[in-house]
Each structure stands twice: as structure tokens, then as C-alpha cells.
């Protein structure tokens, strides 16, 4: 098994493309997106019941070697600062790569 960093981002749906762009620019070739995730955070409930994406979140999960992590975090931090959202980084083991 290969040790990797697991990165999970929850962000407003309108800003999903910016997060995916940051992932690609950090040289990470794969990611998983779950649209229309709901929950509650600092900005109150995200009910996801609108026609517009304004009250909807997206969940993005990716994994990368530790070397790529700082570039990705540097790119994502301004997005979170401006638009809000959550980014969690944790240690993980990649079974097959």
C-alpha cells in the first residue's frame, strides 16, 4: 500500500469548477464529485431545494502524494476564504495504484 493524502472539499456548487481546476493544476489526475450534498455549517443549512445552485454544495474527494499537497492547498485556500466551504486533509493508504 502507498501512503497518500486524502483531500475532501465541500464547496458551493457554483464554485465546483474552480476547485476541479485547482486539482488539475496541482497535477492530480483523478477525483470524485458528489453533487447536491446537504448539511449545515457556519452559513446555516444548505437545503439544496432551489432551482439555482446557490444553496447547494458539492463534495469533492481526491488523493495525492504528499509532494503535491502544498500546491493544491495553496490554490484552494483563497477559494475557501472568498466563497466559504470546508477542506479536510487526512492520511490514507492507497491499496492499488
Amino acid at each position: 500500500m502507498q501512503p497518500v493524502k486524502r483531500i475532501e472539499v465541500i464547496i458551493d456548487s457554483p464554485h465546483l469548477d474552480s476547485v476541479l481546476k485547482a486539482i488539475e493544476q496541482a497535477g492530480i489526475s483523478g477525483y470524485t464529485v458528489i453533487r447536491d450534498v446537504i448539511g449545515t455549517g457556519d452559513r446555516g443549512p444548505r437545503s439544496g431545494d432551489e432551482l439555482t445552485d446557490v444553496f447547494k454544495n458539492c463534495y469533492v474527494m481526491t488523493a495525492c502524494p504528499e509532494d503535491n499537497l502544498s500546491q493544491l492547498v495553496t490554490a484552494i485556500r483563497p477559494l475557501l476564504k472568498r466563497f466559504g466551504g470546508v477542506c479536510l486533509v487526512s492520511d490514507a493508504q492507497w491499496i492499488i495504484h
Binding site: 431545494d49 432551489e50 446557490v54 472568498r82
Partner: protein, 328 residues
């Protein structure tokens, strides 16, 4: 005001389904429309209304009155956010003022569609090109709202991708689908109408009722957010549509618009966007609080327009138009 006008609006199935949606939330019912359906219904309504408008435009052709009406629609979409912004700045930060100004400068397609159903029930004709006017009123307010914010000297503006904003304002899904369906209607005319008749005409009112049921659910859920809005914004959400409607009525009267077109024009002026604008504003003015501008448009202005506005605006048109004929 004629009581039958109010009753014919209130006892319209789509409006009653809207009330049912409101009631379901107030009674804590577990009634819910599965997520992809409201999106499908909104796309269907835009397609159907765009196509119907195109077919009618194919039959009527384009003349001076079409250009005048579309010009006035664009004018109102540009002017409303300007004065709204300066009124809102009396109490709000530039970001919220700009977002709400853009919301009220743009239009609500669902309010427009409900108004067309109201006119059909009363057998009042309207022109197909009003759909084009609606599509063209969506975007200017977004651009003006963002410009007002950028020019307001706010320090926390960050970078803005104008190409992304312009693409979002002019080619967002609803504008593109409306204009595209209008074009399909213009190109196919009566033959196209016959082919799509059961889909675009037969199902229309039933699906509008279903969609308004969901709108009732969503509007009632958003009512909670209005506690944050306060008296000023709640008053704004009712008084601004009335002011915009009065200006729209004046313009419609000046160019002698037919009754049906005048009502749709006034409804467009009085309505506020809760689909196109929030999506664009969230990208361009992320500092603005969506818990203010979405509930104002969705939970106050939209119900106000479809319940009170429609009969009130038609009464205003009938009174003003009758007075003008009596004096001429």
C-alpha cells in the same frame, strides 16, 4: 376592483397548488418533490413558453411595435437596478445592495408563465414576442448589478472573470433554452405547433400546477430566512414591484400596448429573479448574502405578484386604458 378577477386568479389550479405547497410546509408535512423533477419542470416550462412564443412570432412577423416593446423591456431591465441600488444603499452594504438590485432588475420566468396562464383563462390575447422581451430582460440587470458593486469602491472585491460573468449572464441555461425554443418556434411555425401540440400545449397547465406546488414548498421553507431581512427589505420586496409595475404601466400606456402585452410587460417589470441572478451573483459578488436576495424574490415578491399583482395590474390597465379612451 372586480371581485371576479381576484377569484378567477385565486381559484386557478396552479395558484391553488402553490398554496398547497405553502400549507404542506406550515403543517410540517413530509411532502417533497424529488430533486431532479423541479429542474425538469422548469426546463419544460421554458421550452414550452419559448416555443409557443416563436410560433406566434412566425405568424405575426416583426414590426415596429415588436422593436419598441423589446427596447422598453431592455430599458427597464437597465434602469430598475440603478435606482434600486441607490435606495438599498441607504441601509445595506454595497454587496447586498448590488445583488438585490440585480435581482429586482431581472425577471422571473415563472411569474411570466403564470401570467400567460392567467390571460388564457380570461381569453385575453398576447403577442409571442413578449417571450423574446422576457429572455432579453434577464441579463442586463446582472451586468449592471456587478458593475455597480465594482464601482462602489468596496475593498474586498477579489478577481472577477468578466468572460465567465458575461457567459453566465447571456448564455445561462434558461436564457439559452428560451431563445432557442423561440427560434425553433419561429422556424417551424404552425406545422411545428401541430407536431408538439400535446407536449407544449396539452400538458402545459398541469405541469405548471405541479411546478407551482414545488415553488410553494420552497417559498415556505425560505420564509424562515426573512427574519434576517428585517422590515426594510420585506417592505422593499413588496413596494419595489409596485413601483416598477407603475413605471411599466406608464410606458405601456404611452406606446399603446394591447392589454395582454401590457400585463406581461408590467409583470416582467415587477418580477424578481430567483434562478438566473442568484447563480450569476454568487460567482461575481460572493460577499452578498443569498439568504437575503433569494427569499425576498422567492418568498415575498413571487407570491405577491401571482396572487395580488396579476389581478391588480390588470385592473390598473383596464382603468387607465378606459380613461384614455373616454377622454379621446
Amino acid at each position: 376592483m372586480d371581485i371576479s378577477l381576484i377569484l378567477s386568479n385565486l381559484l386557478n389550479p396552479p395558484i391553488l397548488f402553490f398554496f398547497l405547497g405553502l400549507l404542506a410546509v406550515l403543517l410540517h408535512s413530509d411532502l417533497e418533490i424529488p430533486q431532479p423533477l423541479p429542474k425538469f419542470l422548469s426546463l419544460y416550462l421554458l421550452l414550452a413558453i419559448g416555443f409557443k412564443g416563436g410560433v406566434e412570432l412566425n405568424q405575426s412577423g416583426i414590426d415596429r411595435s415588436v422593436l419598441v416593446t423589446i427596447g422598453l423591456a431592455m430599458l427597464m431591465a437597465s434602469v430598475v437596478p440603478l435606482y434600486s441600488f441607490f435606495i438599498l444603499r441607504l441601509k445595506l452594504a454595497a454587496s447586498d445592495a448590488a445583488a438585490i438590485a440585480a435581482t429586482y432588475g431581472s425577471i422571473s420566468a415563472v411569474t411570466f408563465i403564470t401570467a400567460t396562464a392567467f390571460l388564457q383563462d380570461l381569453n385575453i390575447p398576447y403577442s409571442g414576442y413578449m417571450v423574446a422581451a422576457m429572455a432579453l430582460m434577464e441579463s442586463p440587470a446582472i451586468i449592471i448589478g456587478v458593475l455597480l458593486y465594482r464601482l462602489s469602491g468596496n475593498s474586498n472585491r477579489g478577481e472577477l472573470s468578466w468572460s465567465e460573468l458575461l457567459r453566465d449572464a447571456f448564455f445561462n441555461g434558461s436564457v439559452l433554452l428560451l431563445l432557442g425554443s423561440l427560434l425553433v418556434g419561429v422556424l417551424t411555425g404552425e406545422a411545428g405547433k401541430k407536431e408538439l401540440q400535446p407536449f407544449t400545449h396539452g400538458l402545459f397547465k398541469g405541469l405548471l400546477a405541479f411546478f407551482l406546488l414545488d415553488m410553494g414548498l420552497v417559498a415556505a421553507r425560505r420564509l424562515r430566512d426573512l427574519r434576517k431581512a428585517g422590515v426594510f427589505l420585506v417592505s422593499f420586496a413588496i413596494l419595489m414591484p409596485l413601483l416598477n409595475a407603475a413605471l411599466g404601466m406608464g410606458l405601456a400606456y404611452l406606446v399603446d400596448m394591447p392589454r395582454g402585452d401590457a400585463l406581461l410587460f408590467i409583470v416582467l417589470c415587477a418580477s424578481a429573479s430567483y434562478i438566473a441572478v442568484p447563480a450569476a451573483v454568487r460567482l461575481a459578488i460572493p460577499e452578498a448574502n443569498p439568504s437575503l436576495y433569494v427569499p425576498m424574490a422567492l418568498a415575498i415578491t413571487f407570491p405577491f405578484n401571482i396572487i395580488v399583482g396579476l389581478p391588480l395590474y390588470l385592473y390598473g390597465i383596464d382603468t387607465l386604458w378606459r380613461l384614455s379612451h373616454a377622454t379621446s
